[in-house]
């Protein structure tokens, strides 16, 4: 018995929203204030890592198509790896500045996975629209973690990075597949049945 896919999308949207809100809070109050409690530094990277771990059941139980399985596998790995690197940077286990590029790479890989696994045009249906939107958002927003890696004190990069997760969460909350996009519906989709 599997939950409907949209429920799973909402669960992950909630995780991303929490992650984004943590980052937004850090961007607003500043890193020094945010890290007055040591555990707060681990909060968002830990969430990213946990979301990656919980993405594996999605990959293994939703096997209705190969491409979905592979895309969810890619997201699981990317979230785990990016979260792990950020945790290790906070903990002081990793020092080389190149590790700071991990999050930007994760954005690019995740975005590419969205774009590759959606083969329809933008306005074909809502899922296609959102997959393109999610993919391009991630690809373009990769600039924020990239800037953060070279200018860690940049307020713009911190806020942009945080808001990206909030926006991704909103998109995921909206993700329904053969629903219309602004009134458009594919003639192939047939009438809605629930």
């Amino acid at each position: 018995m599997q939950p409907p896919a949209e429920h799973v999308h909402w669960l992950f949207a909630t995780g991303l929203l929490l992650l984004g809100l943590c980052l937004l809070a850090e961007a607003v109050v500043g890193t020094e204030v945010w890290r007055r409690r040591a555990w707060r530094a681990y909060l968002w990277p830990g969430l990213a890592f946990a979301l990656g771990v919980f993405m594996w059941p999605v990959m293994t139980f939703y096997t209705n198509s190969t491409i979905h399985m592979l895309a969810h596998g890619a997201w699981a790995e990317v979230l785990m790896l990016a979260g792990a690197v950020e945790l290790a940077l906070v903990r002081g286990k990793l020092h080389h500045p190149a590790w700071r590029l991990a999050m930007a790479s994760a954005f690019l890989v995740s975005g590419a996975a969205f774009l590759v696994h959606e083969q329809n045009a933008w306005l074909f249906q809502r899922s296609a629209f959102l997959h393109h939107l999610l993919g391009w958002t991630l690809v373009l927003a990769a600039v924020f973690p990239l800037v953060r890696s070279v200018r860690p004190r940049s307020q713009t990069a911190a806020a942009g990075f945080a808001l990206t997760f909030v926006v991704l969460a909103v998109f995921l909350y909206c993700d329904r597949d053969v629903a219309p996009v602004f009134g458009h519906i594919s003639p192939l989709a047939g009438p809605p049945h629930r």
Binding site: T63, N64, R176
Partner: protein, 413 residues
């Protein structure tokens, strides 16, 4: 106006409809691997959304070849084929449908009429494991050895904190286990579905996921994802307490291969054969993975640990070799009831090659145990021992390659 448009856009995006980009098979009649007492009049596929009928939307195969399907129609979410009266036997259905989103979705399932249905991986047209699958299986064994052997070495041999290289090796093992597992599953599905790569991307893998092989893939993926998380936490927090559960989970989930292979599915299979297969594989992983840790971590980075590690590993390896031998002989007797099967069947010949290589590895290990270990115990080191240990582990890896071919071959029983 702009604000109103934004609100309208957000409201439109928030309205519920349905999930999944393309049509998903909800149920079939007959169901996956169902044994029917009579020939069905129709084969029905129910999707979660409207679909369009394609030419050859449903193809029916007996064990002898394709059967003519007189009529196929799409009716709402259903694809229905009238089938001729079927004799006793196993049947395969291959289906294709144009999904609401324009993708051609495809799948395969099997059923039996007064007979047991084969797993979809043995559907009509599936040719069985390919050479690529053998190589992937080998990589799977190697990555399992890195994880299980690495963790076993840390907990049973070294019994102290090891440098980051240990965590890197074990982490690579977990990463490889997850990815090679996915590759193995997709390759098996490709053979079962008999689709070119482009179409395979939209192939329905759920019938494969319902087989023993699929269940093992699911369990092992989840188990090793948990192992990866625990190993990472151990490294991050400098608390090796996470490694114990990681080792137990890894050791337990290695059984996925034993519970889905010959020892579980073939004639004569029982809990004893499954247990023997698991013990065989676990002992091999501990032995080969432990050797890798000894060569790559202890020898170059921890000179003070060489002597105690060598002595403790020698004891562990002796136990592993004993378990390997006992379980291996039991499984060989089970799968090859006649001694002549060793040279008259393909499976037997691969087994002979494996036995030859295992004998070489055991002899190499024996030299280490009888000649090198006493010198290490006395003087602390032996010249070129690291290279010799690397050689032994290389032979072990070649044994795993032959084992991969053996696992994918069909035993005569």
């Amino acid at each position: 106006m702009r604000r109103a448009l934004l609100i309208a856009a957000f409201a439109a995006l928030s309205l519920p409809a349905q999930a999944f980009a393309h049509a998903t098979l909800e149920r079939t009649s007959p169901s996956f691997e169902q044994r029917l007492s009579n020939s069905p009049r129709t084969v029905t596929l129910r999707f979660d959304q409207y679909i369009e009928r394609l030419p050859y939307a449903i193809q029916l195969y007996s064990t002898h070849g394709e059967l003519r399907v007189p009529r196929i129609r799409a009716q709402g979410r259903d694809l229905i084929a009238s089938v001729p009266k079927l004799r006793r036997g196993a049947y395969t259905i291959r289906w294709h449908a144009l999904s609401g989103d324009g993708h051609v979705v495809s799948g395969v399932f099997t059923f039996g009429v007064r007979a047991k249905a084969p797993a979809p991986t043995e559907a009509f047209g599936a040719s069985g494991p390919t050479r690529t699958e053998n190589v992937v299986r080998w990589l799977y064994f190697l990555s399992l050895a890195l994880v299980v052997g690495g963790l076993g070495f840390r907990l049973l041999v070294a019994r102290r904190r090891l440098p980051d290289r240990f965590f890197a090796l074990t982490g690579i093992g977990v990463f490889a286990t997850l990815n090679v597992g996915i590759a193995a599953f997709v390759l098996r599905a490709e053979d079962a579905l008999q689709l070119p790569f482009g179409r395979l991307l939209y192939g329905d893998l759920s019938p494969i996921a319902h087989t023993r092989f699929g269940a093992a893939f699911t369990a092992m993926t989840l188990g090793f994802a948990a192992v990866g998380a625990l190993v990472f936490l151990a490294w991050l927090t400098d608390r090796d307490v996470f490694l114990g559960p990681a080792f137990l989970i890894a050791l337990g989930f290695v059984s996925g291969l034993s519970l889905s292979g010959h020892s579980a599915a073939d004639a004569g299979a029982s809990w004893k054969s499954e247990l023997a297969d698991w013990a065989h594989l676990s002992a091999a992983c501990l032995w080969i993975g432990g050797l890798v840790q000894l060569v790559v971590v202890v020898w170059p980075l921890l000179p003070e640990l060489r002597r105690p590690a060598m002595l403790a590993f020698s004891r562990l390896a002796t136990v592993c070799v004993g378990v390997l031998l006992l379980a291996g002989v039991y499984l060989a007797i089970l799968r090859l009831p006649q001694v002549s099967d060793l040279w008259t069947t393909g499976y037997g010949r691969i087994l002979l090659v494996k036995v030859g290589l295992v004998a070489l590895a055991f002899a190499w290990g024996g030299v280490h145990k009888l000649r090198a270990v006493p010198v290490v115990a006395r003087d602390g080191t032996v010249r070129r021992l690291r290279a010799s240990l690397a050689g032994e582990s290389m032979v072990g890896m070649i044994v795993l390659l032959v084992a991969a071919f053996l696992v994918n071959a069909k035993p005569p029983t």
